[in-house]
């Protein structure tokens, strides 16, 4: 299940989280590797978003540990997660629609010249390089990003995350509400990220898409991780069966023993 004996960049160990009496996560353990797309799938309310919020520092876990490249955190804050290279891409929260691509990619990290002026030319050049490297195609770097398509904005949000030092890119339903063509752009970008050695954690309800993209499928149900399978060794029926509980996954205790 592990890739080329490489160490995981991110380990979640027995993460639990409840909201009042709702157990949103129950002892979830997960490993994330560079150069790999990990898909988190599960029915509505399975706990995918909660898990993502914990690893990006938005929620604190009730129990469990997170280790990023060997450094162990009990409580991750958004700032610490970001410093450690975990970037969660929230399309609508991270872009300023009225500003252009360059201002958005560099927001908060503008190059300066002559003391206190923005070095616009350098930022433009570097944005172009970054977008070229990620094969992101945007008609103009100077139009407000609000006038770009959903796919282009999602791609820009990812580029921004990478520019800010993201090594582990977390995407929660990046193609929701997108047309086929736009989804394909985003999917191409994700496989591109894998090629370039980034770790990608992808939440998606779109199973065909997940099968086309992911290296591993982590299936969640009622707050537990019920299966962690290489994409090649499973099929749509099995995944659906696991998601819906028709087929039982490994009980948490067994998985834990197996993992140790």
């Amino acid at each position: 299940m592990k890739t080329n004996g490489q160490a995981a960049v991110l380990n979640l160990f027995n993460i639990s989280k409840s909201f009042g009496n709702i157990q949103a996560l129950d002892r979830v353990s997960l490993e994330v590797f560079s150069g790999q797309v990990l898909a988190l799938v599960g029915d509505n309310g399975a706990g995918k978003s909660t898990l993502i919020k914990i690893l990006s520092g938005v929620y604190a876990a009730d129990a469990g540990e997170i280790s990023i490249r060997g450094q162990v955190f009990k409580h991750l804050t958004p700032a610490r997660a970001m410093q450690s290279g975990i970037t969660t891409v929230y399309q609508d929260l991270s872009l300023v629609n009225g500003r252009d691509a360059v201002s958005n990619v560099f927001l908060g990290k503008e190059h300066r010249k002559a003391g206190y002026f923005v070095d616009r030319r350098r930022m433009e050049r570097e944005t172009r390089h970054l977008l070229d490297r990620l094969h992101i195609n945007i008609p103009s770097l100077k139009v407000p990003v609000g006038s770009l398509s959903g796919g282009q904005r999602q791609a820009l949000a990812v580029a921004r995350a990478i520019h800010q030092g993201g090594k582990i890119i977390v995407l929660d339903e990046p193609t929701a509400a997108m047309g086929i063509k736009e989804s394909q752009q985003v999917m191409a970008l994700i496989s591109n990220l894998r090629e370039q050695g980034y770790a990608v954690v992808l939440v998606s309800h779109h199973l065909p898409q997940v099968f086309a993209l992911a290296d591993r499928l982590c299936i969640m149900r009622h707050g537990s991780l019920v299966a962690d399978l290489p994409t090649g060794s499973t099929n749509l029926e099995e995944v659906v069966a696991l998601m819906t509980g028709i087929k039982a996954g490994l009980p948490t205790e067994v998985r834990k023993v197996a993992g140790n």
């Binding site: 958004p78 700032a79 970001m82 929260l93 991270s94 872009l95 300023v96 629609n97 009225g98 500003r99 252009d100 201002s103 927001l107 908060g108 990290k109 503008e110 300066r112 206190y116 002026f117 923005v118 616009r120 008609p139 103009s140 100077k142 139009v143 407000p144 609000g146 006038s147 770009l148 398509s149 800010q164």
Partner: protein, 319 residues
């Protein structure tokens, strides 16, 4: 795709510039006096207060806020300058004191909006009232007048062919344009007005820039207080009444979006000139001032409707 920010901004400014030229041509036909240099110089001079305060207002609105206290701040700054000079301080010290009080008001406005998260409309509405009241208290509600000529020269003197306030306003507007368009602060003002959460998430201290923008607006208001007081050789505690309305109108007419995130300094300057030409033209054609008020209101309404329609079009294009 086609309605880019620059394109839109350019076209707003371009349209305004055309409107300004058109209006000037109409006015010059309707009155032979209009195109005389004395009158043009007068128009420039008349536009200074709106533009000065409008520069600060452009930045505040762009950053997603509003500053209703500018007229009161102008009066307070003027009063402090007047009192300081009457207490025997030099004109320069007096000006420094007046501007310092303005900065202080800006700090309070910005601090309350940034840290207590009270909407800027309420904060600055309250501070308008408080500051106006304080001005009346410290002056005993009596205008203070007769100041040294070093001071009054800043209001009624000239630099070359231009009135001193025009030169000051040009410098402030240029500095404002540079700040808004070429510096990180300006980038953050625009980002703050567009998507505050995005700015916060990129690790920028939002409160710091929020405070900065209100301080800048208050400084512009303080300078307007200086011009007002020096020009009339009198610090009137009721000066700058409704100045905030003119400043907001100027900014909005210039293409600054009340939704925040987008502002144009050039637009503000052209709009300030346009309003001054309009008022002057109506006056020299002896049209009573209450018609002027109605007309100015209608123009502002039209400008807002047009800008709303345009931004809606861009949003629809994005979907």
């Amino acid at each position: 795709m086609f309605c880019s920010g620059n394109y839109r901004r350019f076209s707003t400014q371009g349209l305004l510039l055309l409107a300004l030229l058109g209006l000037m041509i109409i006015m010059s036909f309707s009155s032979p006096y209009f195109m005389k240099w004395d009158n043009l110089r007068n128009i420039l001079d008349q536009s200074t207060l709106n533009i000065l305060v409008g520069v600060g207002m452009t930045m505040v609105i762009c950053a997603g806020g509003i500053d209703l206290s500018v007229g009161a701040v102008a009066a307070l700054a003027g009063a402090v300058m007047g009192l300081a000079m009457h207490a025997g301080y030099s004109a320069y010290l007096a000006i420094a004191a007046g501007l310092m009080v303005a900065v202080l008001s800006g700090l309070v406005n910005g601090g309350l909006t940034a840290y207590l998260r009270i909407t800027p409309f309420i904060v600055t509405l309250a501070s308008l009232s408080i500051i106006r009241g304080l001005t009346l208290i410290i002056t005993g509600a009596i205008p203070i007048s007769s100041f040294p000529s070093t001071f009054t020269g800043l209001g009624s003197g000239s630099l070359g062919i231009f009135p001193a306030p025009v030169v000051l306003t040009a410098l402030v507007a240029a500095a404002g344009a540079v700040l808004l368009n070429l510096t990180p602060s300006g980038y953050y003002f625009q980002a703050m007005g567009g998507n505050e959460e995005a700015l916060r998430r990129s690790g920028i201290s939002v409160p710091r820039y929020k405070i900065l923008v209100y301080v800048l607006s208050a400084c512009c208001a303080g300078l307007a207080g200086l011009v007002l007081t020096a020009r009339l050789n009198c610090a009137d505690p009721t000066a700058g009444y409704m100045l905030e309305m003119d400043a907001i109108a100027t900014a909005v007419l210039g293409g600054t979006s009340m939704r925040g995130g987008q502002g144009s300094m050039a637009g503000t300057v052209i709009a300030g000139l346009l309003l001054a030409v309009l008022r002057n033209g109506l006056t020299i054609n002896s049209i009573a001032s209450y018609y002027q008020q109605v007309l100015v209101g209608v123009i502002i309404l039209a400008a807002v409707v047009i800008s709303e329609l345009r931004s809606k079009r861009v949003e629809e294009a994005a979907l």
